[in-house]
């Protein structure tokens, strides 16, 4: 495999936030003692007068962010996905989403690719938690280029946004020159007629490799990258269901309530077809190197390939 540039989406976030901060004075950034990890420290260094570290108090951070937003500020509030969405859940619901305030919850270290820290820090419920809240938009970028565009989109959206970011450095597969981010629109990365793989976040690259493996077996898989999980691109999904008859969803999240569930909700009313959901089954994560965990949960290319092939071959 040729050398591919790898960069973690949290790093892209931190860098793009600095660019955006230079352009818009009403941007404020908050963190909860994880600025070095979430990468908001970059913004803090550049714009100390607009950066507030709440310390280890995620609920209060979200509440203060809401208060700042009532006065016209656009607040990017970061922590790990576990604490941002878990610990502060009800503050996000009642103080940010209900009054539809411009707080962008940008949470890093989502999913099992957190790695060695283990289950207590591997948030596999956040997509479910955030997408169920009215007024909340949910975006999960798959690489550096998409993350930078997503950060800008989050700023432009009027209302709260959940941006899901990862710890692990991952391949950059989009080209900055050609890439266009359309909020709420899926991106067809590869056409195919036998099955559609719909992926979100880091596993998109593994899904691309899985498509190559399937092709060798004569299975033409369509691949769709969904960066906006809410509102989801119903049109592209229903068309895929109609044209390929089977759908595989891939996410670094519990298969309950997350992306796979969102895809099922989108297609069942208009074109119900069999769906296979690849993700974390109904269990907690565990310590280990990120890539080995991907392999364990079938989120690597081999895993996606095997599950998809079985599914396609089923009568």
């Amino acid at each position: 495999m040729p050398d591919v540039k790898k960069i973690a989406t949290r790093v892209s976030y931190g860098q793009e936030l600095c660019e955006l901060g230079a352009e818009y004075e009403n941007i404020c950034v908050m963190d909860a003692d994880l600025a070095a990890s979430t990468q908001t420290a970059l913004f803090g260094k550049k714009f100390p007068e607009r950066f507030f570290d709440a310390g280890i108090q995620e609920g209060n951070m979200m509440g203060i962010a809401a208060g700042l937003a009532t006065t016209g500020k656009v607040v990017f509030a970061s922590s790990f996905a576990m604490f941002a969405t878990g610990r502060a859940y009800e503050v996000i619901r009642n103080s940010i989403a209900y009054p539809k305030l411009n707080v962008k919850i940008c949470a890093s270290h989502a999913g099992v690719s957190v790695g060695e820290d283990g289950a207590s820090h591997q948030c596999i419920e956040d997509i479910a938690l955030m997408r169920v809240i009215p007024n909340m938009s949910v975006i999960q970028p798959a690489d550096d280029v998409e993350t930078r565009a997503a950060v800008r989109a989050a700023y432009a959206i009027d209302g709260p946004v959940y941006l899901r970011l990862a710890r692990l450095a991952s391949p950059v597969f989009n080209s900055a020159e050609d890439y266009k981010f359309e909020f709420g629109k899926g991106i067809t990365l590869r056409d195919g007629s036998d099955v559609t793989i719909v992926a979100t976040g880091l596993p998109v690259t593994a899904a691309m490799d899985a498509c190559d493996l399937l092709e060798k077996d004569g299975i033409h898989a369509r691949l769709i990258n969904i960066h906006t999980i809410k509102p989801i691109d119903e049109e592209i999904l229903v068309r895929a269901a109609r044209e390929t008859g089977k759908i595989v969803t891939v996410e670094e999240h519990s298969v309950i309530g997350g992306f796979g569930s969102a895809v099922c909700e989108a297609i069942t009313e208009k074109c119900p077809v069999p769906v296979r959901r690849i993700g974390i089954p109904d269990c907690f994560g565990m310590s280990g190197p990120a890539l080995e965990l991907y392999k364990y949960y079938g989120l690597d290319a081999q895993g996606i390939y095997k599950r998809t092939k079985e599914f396609v071959c089923e009568k």
Partner: protein, 278 residues
Amino acid sequence: MNKKELLLTANEVRKGIIVGTFHAKSGHPGGSLSATECIVYLYNNVMNIDPEDPEKPDRDRFVLSKGHAAPALYAALAARGFFPKEELRTLRHMGSRLQGHPCFMTPGVDMSTGSLGQGYSAAVGMALSAKISGESYRTYALLGDGELEEGQVWEASMFAGNRKLDNLCVIVDNNNLQIDGTLEEVNSPNPIDKKFEAFGFHVVRVADGNDFDQLAAAFDEAASVKGRPTCIVMKTVKGKGISFMENNAGWHGKATNAEEFKAAMDELTKAEEELCRM
């Protein structure tokens, strides 16, 4: 407003609380009545606000962190001219702008609240915003004493104290009763004053938070404090002004029936007549 006008307005607000909760057949009269004087004083004698322009950027902010006292806030806003007083009868009704707990649907409401502890954090954010943008507005947050049991209150206090937000004034409605009983019976946050002092606040103790003269002195003192936030701990009477509701936790979240409604309104009308003779 002079003292007589304040007393008459407070009496009018109390009527609004009783009318609203009676027609809603639910709501929280007890904690609304204890907070009445504080809210009336702020909206009439302290805060820079304009009922014709409820969202003017330089307005002082008020956050009712004890959001269940919404009937008092709504009645005070109506009395101040933010919306017609007749609307108070629609409290908690389908399609009404007056939701069970405050939200942005209502003209004059600065923050959605209802889940205890959360409004306070938002108020801290508002005060912080004024500091970084060099604006002169002040932010007031009214908390219940039972609300102090929420951990988020102390997170917000730690932040406000450390950031020396002297444009923030927190008021604790210390009526000593919560749903399950007295503070001591449930999980006492006492001593409240010493706790806020420990978090870096200037603390003003008000012996009777239902007395306008004492409130006037407290808010004057708060406005003069520099370099740290102020906390006014005011002792109040839950259910104040309606004899059968006073100091009775049972009236925390219950509306009057027809008979009680008449008795309460008669009592307030009598009080109004006495005030008019003053």
